[in-house]
């Protein structure tokens, strides 16, 4: 069972200090969980975390007044259309990211990114002993696996820039921290998919191969012919294929279990992770097979996700997007770099919308660029090619760089606005819009990128989360005043924790959660929801 792996994994890396994880809903007894879920019955709640790197020019981001009726700040101008559906939330802090041993400046991007959704401090390492914690999106995904097992994927991790082209990460901190948002356990990060065609295929098939592929015997020309069926209600004959897959995976699971018994604890942990993946595929195989899940197409309010390989049609305006081009923006294979940057982001937004419209998954994390990325060229929005995103975020007050910084921030706000447009246009099973039933976060790992602040973060919370949130306002939490040089990286315990926002979201999902994350490894960091979000 997934839930028991938290404590198991947390103890394995025995660096002497076992990180005390706060009580999570996933660890609660079944009875309490059932009660928590009752609160969410009737609404399919969804989550998107949509990030851009290197912080924001905060004076152009933060509204001047609070409450309703604020003037939309210049960077967020493209969100004006969605004013009734968003809250701008200012003053949140990612305090666990500010905890570091050794050089206080080391790994600032990596710490902030690795702690963003996990809300725990990271182990300071450039080596293999990296360790964060489970991220809140995965806490939700684990719950959905139990509650809505027929979802194609428990969660979807996507990005716009391929992580594997370079080994240059941030000194002293592992690449694992910098390039991933989602962590299913303290040592298990979930890699992102950056090829839209591959994302499309996964969504349609639940990550299961759809047909017996063939391949040429000519070197280097294998082409997977796992082209998924058009998601319009076509049913495939899967019974025999499913039988084989299940038999093969059963055998692999048995093999893995037998092998584990003879090994040392770290090898056992490695194989346990593999077994988890095997079990997850078996779970999906069972959940997506008509004979084991009752058959028929879904479309009910909650728990009405599609079953089998039939795409749902009832209840939601579910429609497949055209199959995206097979390729990347800046991937390792030059011939496959067929996308422009904004084009690729647009397709990823389409895929998020499709995933929600067809209820294929309810949890998405999207990382546009990798922080510190020195590849993306923003000349298409008028930023000098001499300047890299991270470079202009180190503006040092230079007016030219500040303007360029704002331009890049504004570009991302436009892309985010485009996603909101897509989500608000989809009618959900309960008659409201998909955006109404979602919590869609727009944020970055830093506040001001010049100072590498982990506080006063840029944050837009879009959607009503099924009615749990009351949007249309600027909510401002006071940020601790600076106490001079050297204070910039110190932990901001007095600031409103980012973790509280996540508690609000988990509660909107019907989960009985009241704490999340930790700054010191024992004391909970987030201790309750952001009550102001409810209105």
């Amino acid at each position: 069972m997934k839930t028991f792996q938290l404590s198991r994994r947390a103890c394995l890396r025995g660096a002497g200090v076992a990180l005390g994880l706060p009580m999570l809903e996933a660890m609660l007894p079944i009875g309490r969980r059932a009660r928590a879920q009752a609160a969410a019955a009737g609404k399919p709640i969804r989550l998107v975390v949509w990030t851009f790197p290197d912080g924001a020019r905060m004076d152009a981001w933060t509204p001047k007044t609070t409450g309703a009726g604020y003037a939309m700040p210049p960077t967020l101008a493209s969100l004006e259309t969605y004013r009734p559906q968003i809250n701008v939330v200012s003053g949140l802090a990612n305090t666990p990211a500010s905890v570091v041993s050794g050089d206080v400046f080391a790994g600032s991007h990596a710490r902030a990114t690795g702690a963003m959704l996990t809300q725990v401090p990271l182990v300071f390492t450039s080596g293999a002993n990296f360790k964060a914690g489970i991220s809140f999106d995965q806490v939700i995904a684990n719950d959905l696996k139990v509650r809505v097992p027929s979802l194609r994927l428990p969660s979807l991790e996507i990005g716009a820039v391929y992580a594997g082209a370079t080994g240059n990460c941030e000194d002293g901190f592992s690449c694992a921290y910098l390039t991933n948002l989602a962590w299913s356990g303290p040592t298990t990060f979930l890699p992102k998919e950056t090829n839209p065609k591959a994302v499309f295929d996964r969504l349609v098939t639940g990550g299961l191969p759809t047909a017996t592929p063939t391949m040429s015997t000519t070197p280097g020309t294998m082409t997977p012919t796992t082209t998924p069926p058009p998601p319009t209600g076509t049913t495939m004959g899967v019974d025999k294929t499913t039988l084989y897959r299940k038999s093969v995976l059963d055998l692999v699971a048995a093999d893995t279990n037998a092998l584990k018994k003879r090994l040392g604890v770290s090898d056992q942990a490695k194989l346990s992770d593999y077994l988890d993946s095997v079990n997850e595929l078996e779970r999906r195989l069972a959940a997506l097979t008509p004979t084991t899940s009752g058959g028929g197409t879904g479309g009910g309010a909650d728990g009405g996700a599609p079953t089998g390989t039939t795409m749902p049609t009832a209840g939601r305006s579910c429609a497949a997007i055209p199959t995206p081009k097979d390729g990347t923006y800046l991937g390792p294979t030059a011939s496959k770099n067929v996308y422009g940057y904004s084009e690729l982001i647009g397709v990823m937004n389409d895929l998020i919308a499709m995933a929600f419209a067809c209820d294929l998954t309810r949890v998405v994390t999207f990382m546009s660029e990798i922080p510190l990325n020195t590849q993306t060229n923003f000349s298409f929005v008028g930023v000098s090619t001499s300047n890299y995103h991270d470079d202009i975020s180190h503006h040092g007050g230079d007016p030219t760089k500040l303007a360029q910084y704002q331009t890049v921030n504004t570009f991302y706000a436009q892309q985010f606005a485009s996603l909101l447009g897509k989500l608000s246009a989809i009618t959900d099973a309960d008659g409201s819009s998909v955006l109404d039933n979602s919590a869609v976060l727009f944020t970055s790992e830093f506040g001001d990128g010049d100072a590498h602040y982990h506080f006063n973060l840029p944050m837009v919370v879009a959607g009503r989360a099924g009615g749990a949130f009351s949007p249309g306002r600027h909510i401002l939490y006071p940020s601790t005043a600076d106490s001079g040089a050297g204070a910039i990286e110190t932990a901001r315990r007095a600031d409103k924790p980012l973790a509280n926002l996540y508690i609000s979201i988990m509660q909107a999902f019907g989960m009985n959660v009241s704490t999340f994350g930790s700054v010191d490894g024992t004391t909970p960091y987030g201790t309750g929801p952001l009550t102001e979000l409810a209105g």
Partner: protein, 561 residues
Amino acid sequence: MVVKPPPSRLLAMAAMLLAGCTGRIGSNGGGMMPAGLAGPINPGRVVAHRLNNVEYDNTIRDLTGQDTQPSVAFDFPPDTYIEGFDNNADALAAPPLYLEKLQAATEAIVTGALDPSPANAAARARIMVCDPGTTGESACATKILTTFASRAFRRPVQDAEVQGYAGLIGVAKSAGDGFNQGIAAALQAVLLSPRFLFRIEANPPAGTSALLDDYEIASRLSYFLWSTMPDDELLQRAAARGLQEPAAITAEVRRMLADPRSSALVNNLAGEWLGSRELAVEEITLTDVTFDADLRGAMATEASMYLGEMLQGGHAIKELLSSSFAFANGRLAAHYGFPGAASLGTSFTQLPLPDDRRSGGILTQANTLTVTSMRDRTSPTRRGKWVSENLLCNVIPPPPPQVPQLQPQSTTAPTSVRDRLAQHRQKGTICYGCHQYMDPIGLGLEHYDAVGRWRDTDSGAAIDATGNVPISNAPFDGAISLAKAVGDDPRFLDCVVRKLMTYALGRSLVTDGSSPMDDTAGLADIRMRLGSTAASVVDVIQLIATSPAMTMRLGEETSAP
């Protein structure tokens, strides 16, 4: 005669000085100990090692005879780089996304391997080693599966071990299919088994070290030198218990380096250590160069061929940085301004250096110079940082917040990069602490522009490429004397050993005394046997291949204490 501190003292001093660039001791700056004082050598252990994407593709190629690069065709998630290498066992996870791709690839691989068309007859015959019509289905299935699994698992498999897989024939029959469908499913199960996908070694009693068995050593060697499974010859040597003696391992290493499969070692080191994989995504906006796929490819090829020659030609470690030759094709020779470039075609040849503009080593190769530059200008800081971290193994901390990066070139007041960088090197500034270790080396390479072409001036000012190597203080004027100074530096010897060792083991080295698996003594032992950078690159590989870290394993508890 000037009395110099012994190299080991210099090393220790370097580690101290660089810790945070502030003189503080105790960060992760290296912590080297003098050779001979490091105590007993501890072999450490590598956690169950998932084949990375390159290793998987190569292994499938050698197992099935089909070079189809499934990790590319099926979009496997990228492997994570740890300390510059993507074969670190701890970081090679198998999350659900990975297993999804793997399962799809496995089905395609088995279908391809059993393809009955004549073009695939030989590969199929290697798997379908008997005829169920004559030997009986049960006996035939056992034979097919023990033969295949013994290669896939890289060690002999007994009949009893494959009965589970053979049971899939019964599943096929129950589904109305035949023997062949059952075998196909069984082969899939073999290829999804952790015994294929992971390199797993037996666990000695906790706290004790034991020699690896011959098959484990065979796999260690083949994944180090070839990034693929052992070939039949290596497996036969293991079967004869012929890999326990250092001399036997040395002989195998010699054979394996002579095999074309050792290009995997060369290409991975060039791609990861020397950074040529970054060329694929590097962007250059200079208008007077066509930075197309041909040029990127030529730069990467030169880096690989030069490293290959260092291995195959028995060259000294210091020749990594200094020699009298280069590798180029017509395109790259023209890029470098070599005379006679027009007469060269698209294939690469070894050329004598035509002049004293280049050092004939990796410092002045276009690959190195390009991947350490910005889009439209050089960055002496980046180049110096690259040399410090990759050739001297001294990690430089990142810049503090609220410090602007170098201002772009002014349009009104022409200044050289050296002039603009001078602000970094003013003593007492916040920048000085670290930039004193980076900028001087990079300034020694200022004769090469952002794509590695020679230049005499920068923004109209004559290039001043003089300086001193940080810490050793060796003076240089330009790349040739810089290459010699770095090449003679004991830190370079140490660093080459560390880099190759990290790659060979596929794990992080521990040298700060924080763990019972400390590698300090093992590294010191190899360094001492090499003596200086006059030793050959092959010697480093041989010493690593026969070292305790490669041939032994420290046992671990079998249940959490």
